[in-house]
Assembly symmetry: C2
Homo-oligomer: 327 residues x 2
């Protein structure tokens, strides 16, 4: 089956799906490979197929997440919806029609990526018990990520700042499970690791994933745009509910922060003022400490488990880097 | 994993997914079962899992199709997006926020249904070669349906009436492959049918599926709403590009039909006038004949193949009913 056999638009849809998959930090493939090799796995082609499955899952979620958020840009370039809206305009569509082209492309590209993610594991040439364990990991990842995405949308529309436990649960469900826990568990399972080790890696992955995402949110406000490649005002304009905000909402500074937070017209000067208020009220320190606590707990999991020596060292370093990174 | 563990909203999402799956004609399960039993299959539980996979695929496509069309009602009741928009309003969301809740629920419910469709086949307890053949059938169905959906959206936004060959290709790709060809091919494959028979059933399914969909479109304009359960004006208001319209566009009656066709304010009297114009210009006869030709070609496929006697009789009857039905 070739996309081109079904018309130029369908070929363009697959092309934009491939472009969307390119770039990124490749966290998931690295974790699959670390866990697999750490437990003695040596078939790189096999591990690559499992890694590909989680990258495709990630691509599907990004595309559908952008669709929900009505974003047409990602990493500074048009995303699938953005590309297809442009394509529609080039084919003479009006603005409304071009938005529908874009949404259609995003729905379908996400569905195609999600289907390929399942297929990579479903046809994996390993024993049935191993394949089924991998399918369970994938199923759990999809199930929990959907719960996290729904919670995120519901909370972000609610207006009031959520408590820190809601922020942490959402980070865990929406991202940490599918991007950290599942790739580690899958790599270890593929290498034939014992269930206790898989469970320990899963707990480690969830904790480190939460630390990673807290750091992401901190960098989204306090990072250097020239290094992160992201605006340092966008999350503030958008009213993104993060650990920073959950902490700020418990302080006396909240009324003055809440008055500007989530204002889509916020200019860079006002964003700087808001950033300073978040620092002064202790939100930056609190979020940084929360990330460090998660890293510490994650390392406890590593130490408590009977993991291969090298893997333990590698993952310990990974955990520390998850929060010390600047981009 | 239980949805309720992830909050009441997520439990409600799964509930609305189940409600969306209920009802319908159950064409796909019947075709899986006919082909499976026709080739001597006797394990009803196994066939049911394959049937469930195609029903879940159908549910996923309906939900995402409604999302693309911004429909919030299906079969006279609120669909997943409609239910969730209502839920948001009940939780104090404003109109914009309730629309986002609805869209989010539709994206996620479709993704969950699609994932379960893949999983049903991926964990099927059959030999690897059989399971992989079934996965290939599913993959082809997803691949071609997405192409059909994209083509449908592109053509419906284009304004000008498409030629009959475009209408037929879209019906085949968007619906006939996943709802007719794939369930028949899967049922036969599960029963261990030879490749020639599977190929013949696939061709039969595609042809009969197109006949079924042409009839669907004819019933959408000329059917009795009390019997079909569908408005006989909605397709005309919406400007749905069907075989009727493709034929009408080749006749002298077209300018007067085109002047009202696709007018969202069309009242029932104007719809009656338009319906009569479609009948008078020969569009109803042409579409009916086209459906009959596809049924005839489909029956040729049955006769040319070396199929079990009973299966041939059953599918021959099915083909004739596909176009003689009134709902």
């Amino acid at each position: 089956m070739r996309a081109g056999d079904y018309g130029a638009h369908y070929a363009a849809l697959w092309e934009s799906l491939e472009q969307q998959s390119a770039g990124g930090k490749r966290v998931r493939p690295r974790l699959v490979w670390s866990a697999y090799r750490g437990f003695g796995g040596a078939d790189r082609a096999l591990a690559t197929r499992v890694a590909l499955s989680f990258e495709l899952l990630h691509t599907a979620f990004l595309i559908h997440d952008d669709l929900i958020d009505r974003d047409t840009v990602r990493r500074g370039a048009p995303n699938v919806a953005g590309r297809f809206a442009e394509r529609a305009l080039a084919h003479g569509a009006d603005e409304r029609a071009s938005a529908v082209w874009g949404e259609t492309a995003a729905v379908l590209a996400g569905d195609l990526a999600l289907s390929r993610a399942h297929r990579e594991i479903a046809v994996l040439p390993v024993e049935a018990a191993c394949r089924e364990a991998l399918l369970d990991i994938l199923d759990r990842a999809v199930f929990i990520s959907a719960a996290g995405e729904l919670a995120d949308v519901v909370h972000s529309l609610r207006g009031a700042a959520p408590g820190i436990e809601v922020v942490l649960a959402t980070l865990e469900h929406k991202t940490a499970v599918y991007s950290f826990e599942a790739p580690l568990a899958a790599g270890a399972t593929l290498a034939g690791a014992d269930p206790e080790s898989v469970a320990a890696l899963s707990r480690f992955g969830r904790l480190v994933g939460v630390a990673f995402q807290i750091t992401d949110d901190v960098l989204g406000v306090f990072g250097d745009p020239a290094v992160t490649g992201k605006s340092a005002s966008a999350d503030l304009r958008e009213g993104k509910q993060t650990a920073l905000i959950a902490h700020a909402a418990t302080t006396d500074a909240w009324p003055s922060i809440a008055a500007r937070f989530g204002d889509p017209t916020l200019d860079d000067d006002a964003a700087t003022t808001l950033r300073e208020a978040l620092r002064d009220c202790g939100a930056l320190d609190a979020a940084t400490q929360l990330a460090q606590e998660h890293v510490t707990l994650a390392r406890f999991e590593l130490d408590a488990a009977d993991l291969p020596h090298e893997l333990r060292g590698e993952l310990g370093d990974f955990a520390q880097r998850a929060m010390e990174r600047v981009r």
